[in-house]
Subunit: 206 residues, 2 copies
Amino acid sequence: MDYIKIPMDIEERSFEIIGEEMGPHNFSDRELKIVKRVIHTTADFQYKDLIYIREGAIDSALEILKKGTTIYTDTNMAASGINKAALKKLNSKVECFVAREDVSQIAKDRGITRSMAAVEKAAAEGVEFFVFGNAPTALFKLIELTKQGKANPKFIIGAPVGFVGAAESKEEIEKLDVPMITIRGRKGGSGIAACIVNALMYMIAR
Amino acid sequence: MDYIKIPMDIEERSFEIIGEEMGPHNFSDRELKIVKRVIHTTADFQYKDLIYIREGAIDSALEILKKGTTIYTDTNMAASGINKAALKKLNSKVECFVAREDVSQIAKDRGITRSMAAVEKAAAEGVEFFVFGNAPTALFKLIELTKQGKANPKFIIGAPVGFVGAAESKEEIEKLDVPMITIRGRKGGSGIAACIVNALMYMIAR
């Protein structure tokens, strides 16, 4: 069988096809890199209309990544989708706090969910870069903590998917005055959250 | 803020909403569990029309899972999306061969991609349960090996996503006489592949 076997060639050709098919838009060059990568990850052109990239958000994200940071993710899946080679070049790391033992213990001691304990722990440890691809409850928790002055997010990717709370969680997070990229409505997911991180990293390290 | 905080409650309510909104269908009860979980993972009702569940495929998958097996995945992301507690109950494990050192070495020695070396290695080690959520090249490789009698897949999830080779890889795999579940067309992804495995496991262990 004859097929393209080189991953980078596949990606380049895919981005060309997406550009040809996506139709008119008002995205900047940098925004377009993010939008195309989301469509590349999902084969779903609707994301063109669902993505919200707040003005200044890309600059804020790159500023944090350039100095090296710990990226919080709400799932192991989002963490595993983030490119480790690019992270390393940026002296950054990704951590899914929900998998940590001390977080399990906090959740048990206080009778709260691990998702919520994970956000509290990340906030307490000064995490600035938050990535949500799954859990509306975690996103709601970050909103609460931020309003209480207990969390200081400098950049948020809000992309929970689902039918209960997901759309609402993204409406609520947009009320915070924080640089962010969200996927509006029910759609989203860990893969999408991860690929937005990758699109940002690839602007400065690949 | 008032929001549902219990993951199992969220899932149950989500499945109800999906049932209400998905409209008429001809799925069996077991098929419906898979279809609903895919829609739950993506918030995309189009998967109702894209999923192909071959007759007997669910029985074949459950038979393999019941005896305990090693599940091959083409990405770490698919592996990380598969429920570890359910796997453990089934005396099964998941392995993303592409991340293995011996696979890297084979790829380097023979000048082939790691994706292809990973499938070869899995086939040589007698893996029966293959899960593809990303790489059309890996899927094509399994087709080649199966035709050559060098691989013996007993169940395949074919869900690569993308614009170059993904749809074609799924058309080709369907020509094999093997129990399988595929996502037709361009759509798919690691999260979808993983959630199909979970839907199957939850029929016998949760």
